[in-house]
Every structure is written in structure tokens, then in C-alpha cells.
């Protein structure tokens, strides 16, 4: 059970790392405006996702390194709302661009939603496995 919990911890950590790197590279928000050089609102959504994804990375590393299953479950449970909140940042908490065919809508938002969904599911399973292990003990 502990091994399986570690596997899900590593999985959520890997997804958090992909989110952290990806949101600044492969699925970043739209570029700044060519004429004025100003950033559009989606840039701030990207920054917010990046900041929370760093926290997700640290939390998942801590979860994998911890030995106490109770602590592990606690950290995993904390990751679930973090991931859900990150999922809601693009276009719910912070508006994206006006045209939904732009990069922030067509690439960044679905990628953030899928990865955060994956992190939330993995973290929830890790938390559940920790609770189960505790019950058995």
C-alpha cells in the first residue's frame, strides 16, 4: 500500500513539474501585443498558475519523502484543492483573451485543466491509500 502511495505521489509530482515547466514553455499564454508591447490578462493567469504549480511540486516532493503515512495523506489531501483552484485560474478567476481561438484558450487552458485534473486524481488516490493503510495498521 505504501509503495502504491509513493507511486501516486511521484505521478502527481511529475505532473506538477510538467505543469510548472509547460506553463512557461509549451503551453504558455499569448505573447504580448505587438503594437503596444502590453501584456494581455492571460499573462497574469499564466503567472498565477506557475506560482501555484511550484507549490504543488514542493508539496508532492515532501509527500514522497515523508515516511509517516498520516503526514503523507495530509499533504496529498492539501494538494487536491490546490490543483482544483489552479484548474480554475484560467478564465474563471482571471479572464483570458477575448477570442477563444487564441493560444491561451486553445492550448494553455485545456493543458492546465487536464494536468490539474490528473494531479487532483493522483493526490486523492494517494490520500485514500494512506488512510486505508492507517486503518489496516
Amino acid at each position: 500500500m505504501k509503495k502504491l502511495q509513493t507511486i501516486f505521489g511521484i505521478l502527481s509530482g511529475a505532473l506538477s513539474l510538467v505543469l510548472t515547466i509547460g506553463v512557461k514553455t509549451f503551453f504558455s499564454a499569448c505573447d504580448h501585443m505587438t503594437d503596444t508591447g502590453a501584456y494581455m490578462s492571460c499573462h497574469w493567469a499564466e503567472q498565477a498558475v506557475f506560482a501555484i504549480s511550484l507549490v504543488l511540486c514542493v508539496t508532492s516532493v515532501a509527500m514522497v519523502l515523508m515516511r509517516d503515512p498520516k503526514m503523507r495523506s495530509g499533504l496529498a489531501m492539501a494538494m487536491v484543492p490546490q490543483a482544483v483552484i489552479t484548474m480554475l485560474i484560467p478564465n474563471v478567476f482571471i479572464n483570458l483573451c477575448m477570442k477563444t481561438d487564441m493560444q491561451c484558450h486553445s492550448v494553455m487552458r485545456p493543458a492546465v485543466m487536464l494536468l490539474c485534473g490528473g494531479i487532483a486524481v493522483c493526490a486523492a488516490i494517494a490520500a485514500f491509500l494512506g488512510i486505508k493503510a492507517k486503518e489496516k495498521a
Binding site: 503594437d35 483570458l96 477575448m98 477570442k99 477563444t100 481561438d101 486553445s106 492550448v107
Partner: protein, 399 residues
């Protein structure tokens, strides 16, 4: 007993089971992704045909030489062109005109006066027969002054206020998704769009080569009556009006249709190649797996298992692997293709409209059937071979 034996066999060799499941998952992923792409492109083209809504378009001659009108209608570029309003009267005299309506184009800018740089299309509510039937699906009231109807890809909602050249406009309705450039277009009545044009001239943002917005239109849309064919009306219009050009909308989208055919063929070939390759790999994998387990099957024969039971065990394993692998592949395919439809549309630069939920479910079911059937067919060869097993030879170690 048979099912539990097959499942125990699969659980006993997790590595082999995982490889077989990954192969069937890849097969299902390719089939579902390919079919969604082809189906979306076809729906997009059909949606574009519907949305153009007229058989003939009459535009200023310069617009056809610069290809600007095709870019605006098919590629989603913003722009405008104008011709004298009197052309409408001349064209209306052409024999065989059933319906005739004018449109007025305007492009907003990204500067502070406009909420968003988009293509603005103004129509005459009295004569329009292309946009209003489409608007009525979302909004069944006449548009008031400063009311606009926005395409589905604009991130605004009914009741919001958008500003174009300083004119505050209320979003009266948001249209259904079409998968075409019309999804990022703003539609409004003639009065409102002309108010915007005058505002842009007053602000010094545009001069429109000195044209008077009241005296011009951008294009005429025509549907022919039953008396004459569109071809005849096009020829007649072009013959009698030198400054304008009449084009059949079918010809305009023939380029898109050709590209779509090309992309569909490539996707089809790729799908077939992956299917054949996947089938061959699965056949090899099942054959190798059965060869490895010959002694195991021979022992089962010795303790009383019939030839049929051995064949059914192999088939049950293949079906279980095929079903789970295909479900994983289809789920993955849907998780990639549905949220990233916008990215696919950008990448293909063609009209792209996702199929409805019902059609997507049917495509997923078909992909499941194809991949499970492929797995079962490849396993059937191994099942047949194992049912012909000579127990004595195997156990003596001669084979």
C-alpha cells in the same frame, strides 16, 4: 472458471499484459483521434456552406484581385472593401434574382477605442436571408440600436457591453459554434455599423479612402429564383457590371474542400497504416506469448483441459486485454481531442467543428469495436494453434 483463469493468467504476467494493453490502447487512440479529426473537418465544411447561406456573392472587383474577401470569409482575417450602393439597384435588375441583400464590412482595431480587434459585419434586417435565420436559433427578437450578436469564439456573454470605435454596444446574443471564421465575427444591423464607421472617421482612425458610409456597401448576397441557374446569373451580372465581380460561393470554398479532402486522405492512410502495424505487432505478441506458454498449456491438457478450453482461455485473455486497452486508449483520445479542438483548428487552419455528443459516443463505440475486434482476430490465430497442440511432443521437449 474460464474468466478467472484468464484474469489470473493476465495478473500473473503483469509485464506482458501491460505491453499488450499499451498496444491496443495505441490502436484505439489512433482510431478515435483520426475519426474525430476527419469528422470535425467534414462538419466544419458543411457548417461553412450553411453559414455562407447564399449561392452568389457580388463584391468590388479589387477585392477579388487582392483575395481580401476570401481571407475575411474563410481565413478569419479582418478587413473591409466598399462599392457604390447603386450597384445593388443595377444587380437587382438582373433576371433570375430570387433574394438579394447587402452587407457592410468593418474591422475594429486593438487600440483603446475598441474592446477587441474583430471583423464586424453589418446586415440589412429588412432583406437579410443569411445571418438572421442563424441568429434566430439563439435570439428571436429584432436587434435594437447598438445591439450586436457575437460569434461563439468571443469571450463575452449576453448583456455584456463591448465598445467599437467608442460606440458602446450591448451583446444581445451569442451564436452557436460553427467551426468557421464566423465564430470570431460580430454581427449587427446597418444603422449600428454605420454609426461605428462614422465614429472611426470622426476620431481620425480611418479614412476609408473618403467614402461616405451611407453611400456604400461591401457585398451583395444573392439566391437565384427557379427561373435561372446560379451560373447564368453570375455570367449575366459579370457581363453587365464591370466594376464588380459575382462569384459562386461553392467555387470560393472549393479550395477549402480540396484541402480538406487531402487532410482526410492523409489521416485515413495514417490510420490504416497504424491499424495494420498494430495488428501485425499484436499478432506477433500473441504468437510469442503462446509459444512461451506451450508447456503450461500442455500441462493443462494432461490434467484434463479440453482443446476448446485452451482456445477459449487465449481468446478470453485477448478480449480482456483488448477491452481494457481500448477503453484506456479511447479515454486518452477523447481527453486530448476534445479540449484541444481549438488548437487542432489553428494547426489545420481549416473549418473544424467537433461532432455532437451523440456522434462522438458513436465514434468511440466504433473505435472500441475496431480495436477489440483486431485484438480478437490476431489472438484467434494463436488460439487455433494452441488447440492443435501435440501434448506429448511438447512435454518430451522436442518442440
Amino acid at each position: 472458471m474460464l474468466h478467472s483463469l484468464a484474469l489470473k493468467n493476465l495478473r500473473g504476467k503483469p509485464g506482458r499484459t501491460a505491453v499488450l494493453m499499451i498496444l491496443t490502447a495505441l490502436l484505439a487512440l489512433t482510431v478515435i483521434s483520426g475519426t474525430i479529426i476527419v469528422s470535425s473537418l467534414r462538419s466544419g465544411l458543411s457548417s461553412l456552406e450553411d453559414r455562407l447561406g447564399a449561392e452568389i456573392m457580388v463584391v468590388p472587383y479589387e477585392a477579388t484581385t487582392k483575395k481580401s474577401f476570401e481571407n475575411i470569409l474563410l481565413q478569419g482575417s479582418t478587413g473591409y472593401f466598399y462599392m457604390d450602393k447603386s450597384v445593388m439597384d443595377q444587380v437587382s435588375e438582373t433576371e433570375g434574382i430570387g433574394e438579394l441583400s447587402a452587407q457592410f464590412y468593418l474591422a475594429s482595431t486593438s487600440s483603446g477605442c475598441c474592446s477587441i480587434p474583430v471583423q464586424l459585419i453589418g446586415f440589412d434586417p429588412e432583406t437579410d436571408f443569411t445571418i438572421q435565420p442563424w441568429i434566430r436559433r439563439s435570439f428571436n427578437e429584432p436587434l435594437k440600436e447598438n445591439d450586436i450578436v457575437i460569434g461563439n469564439d468571443l469571450n463575452a456573454f449576453v448583456g455584456d457591453t463591448l465598445q467599437f470605435y467608442g460606440v458602446d454596444c450591448r451583446v444581445a446574443a451569442k451564436l452557436e459554434k460553427t467551426g468557421t471564421s464566423f465564430d470570431t465575427t460580430v454581427f449587427t444591423g446597418f444603422d449600428t455599423i454605420k454609426k461605428m464607421t462614422r465614429a472611426s472617421i470622426d476620431k481620425g482612425l480611418n479614412t476609408y479612402k473618403g467614402v461616405d458610409p451611407e453611400a456604400v456597401v461591401s457585398c451583395l448576397l444573392i439566391n437565384t429564383s427557379d427561373e435561372r441557374s446560379p451560373e447564368e446569373v453570375v455570367n449575366d451580372t459579370n457581363l453587365h457590371n464591370k466594376k464588380v465581380r459575382a462569384v459562386r460561393t461553392k467555387e470560393m470554398i472549393s479550395g477549402v474542400s480540396d484541402s480538406l479532402g487531402g487532410v482526410s486522405r492523409i489521416v485515413g492512410i495514417l490510420m490504416a497504416a497504424v491499424w495494420v502495424l498494430g495488428g501485425v505487432i499484436l499478432l506477433l505478441a500473441f504468437t510469442m506469448s503462446v509459444n512461451e506458454r506451450k508447456k503450461e498449456f500442455a500441462v493443462m491438457r494432461v490434467i484434463g483441459a479440453s482443446r476448446g478450453l485452451l482456445a477459449r482461455t487465449v481468446m478470453s485473455e485477448a478480449l480482456a486485454v483488448g477491452l481494457f486497452g481500448s477503453l484506456i486508449g479511447i479515454a486518452l483520445g477523447l481527453f486530448i481531442m476534445l479540449p484541444f479542438a481549438g488548437a487542432a483548428e489553428q494547426l489545420l487552419a481549416m473549418p473544424y467543428l467537433l461532432p455532437s455528443a451523440g456522434k462522438t459516443a458513436a465514434l468511440a463505440a466504433a473505435a472500441l469495436a475496431v480495436s477489440v475486434l483486431t485484438g480478437a482476430l490476431t489472438a484467434a490465430v494463436s488460439a487455433y494453434r494452441i488447440s492443435r497442440l501435440d501434448t506429448g511432443v511438447i512435454l518430451r521437449g522436442d518442440n
